[in-house]
């Protein structure tokens, strides 16, 4: 199974879930398959799963999908233990495993030897940890994960190679602002606070004293 085949198989399932993708093929292919301001790219190798855990803890009533890679997960293995400890019910952690550091030229990762990431996740306390090697099995696993309490871990075993898709269209700052606006619009929260210049302090104080809004 190619990564894009796997992603195509789940694009209709995710709804308005927040999706964090590890840098490289997962980011560009996912955004090509399901363009949305709810897509957040991770730039630090390994931190995708941790950013996803933070989103899941910060917004417990929303599903959060992490599209991790085998090299990235290996770099931040402690995140599996932390997810197992915190047990976020809304987190769906997917490891797209092609056994190589694809974005860095294709040298093998630990997964090219004997690693079983699903067993590792289960050992870390993530009881719902499954393996998928076909688009059908992967879609079924994601549908189950999105429809039930987690945390869930899906070890998605894919072939090497990146699909011919455009680069991710946003730099980190624009990606952040778009993502936060998506969170605001879909939760009703107000997150970005406008800076209040000192010249407004008198106006605000008088409004507060008179009991009306500024």
């Amino acid at each position: 199974m190619k990564r894009k085949e796997a992603l195509d198989a789940i694009k209709e399932l995710v709804g308005d879930a927040f999706v964090v993708t590890t840098a490289g093929g997962a980011t560009v292919e996912w955004h090509a398959v399901r363009p949305s301001d709810g897509n957040l790219q991770a730039k630090t190798l390994g931190l995708c799963s941790s950013i996803g855990l933070g989103l899941a803890l910060g917004q417990p009533d929303r599903k959060v999908i992490v599209l991790d890679g085998d090299g990235a997960l290996w770099m931040n293995l402690s995140s599996l233990g932390t997810i197992g400890w915190k047990q976020p019910r809304n987190l769906v952690h997917i490891c797209m495993d092609n056994t190589v550091y694809e974005s860095s030229g294709g040298t093998p990762t630990v997964s090219s030897a004997r690693m079983n990431f699903a067993a590792l996740a289960r050992a870390a306390g993530i009881e719902s940890a499954v393996e998928a090697s076909t688009p059908e099995a992967f879609a079924a696993a994601v549908a189950h994960a999105l429809g039930s309490d987690g945390p869930h871990f899906i070890w998605c075993r894919i072939e090497q190679g990146r699909a011919n898709v455009p680069p991710f269209p946003y730099d980190e700052l624009e990606n952040k602002y778009r993502f936060i606006r998506f969170v605001e619009e879909t939760t009703g929260k107000r997150i970005i606070q406008p800076p209040i210049p000192h010249s407004y302090e008198g106006t605000l104080r008088r409004a507060a004293e008179s009991g009306s809004s500024a």
Partner: protein, 164 residues
């Protein structure tokens, strides 16, 4: 010696500044504060295995509208440098870094950490100050959170034994 009273004062300062989401890695001097944070129902608290993991978790917390902090020793600050640079700084994420200042003046442990801590923060362009006086703690925490939120960057407070 860290005390439970000092820990409550510290948590009060964090709450007053709006901090409601904290991750932490232990240091013996942070023990009372970590125990109190873990027991506090108003703070989403996550103990992590490695500090850089905490930078990622704080980023997710900040993006969902929380005021976030990471509590760690300065050795952990060094462990976090890539995450601070390519996640927190590159995306512009406000995170309060509460960094226990091992190797500070008068501290006989980890003197090399003490030597490099401030130069590393300067190299990362992270604004910082030390917490040395319990009477100014709340004001300093409030000021640091204000700057982090306004600048959308991590800001560091170097935590010394005087405020623990």
């Amino acid at each position: 010696m860290a005390t439970a009273e000092a820990a409550q004062r510290f948590i009060g300062a964090l709450k007053e500044a709006g901090v409601d989401f904290v991750v932490a890695v232990p240091d013996i001097n942070l023990l009372e504060l970590m125990k109190a944070l873990a027991a506090d129902p108003d703070i989403e608290y996550t103990p992590v295995g490695r500090e850089e993991e905490g930078i990622g978790i704080c980023t997710g917390g900040a993006l969902t509208g929380h005021r976030v902090a990471i509590l760690m020793q300065n050795g952990g600050l060094l462990n976090s440098c890539n995450g601070l640079t390519t996640t927190a700084l590159q995306f512009g994420i406000p995170i309060l870094l509460l960094v226990y200042y091992a190797g500070d003046w008068g501290d006989n442990a980890f003197h090399m950490l003490g030597l490099v801590t401030e130069p590393v923060l300067q190299a990362l362009d992270i604004k910082y100050q030390a917490l040395r006086d319990p009477s100014t703690l709340a004001q300093q925490v409030r000021g640091a959170v204000t700057v982090a939120e306004a600048s959308k960057r991590p800001v560091a407070l170097l935590v010394t034994r005087a405020v623990l």
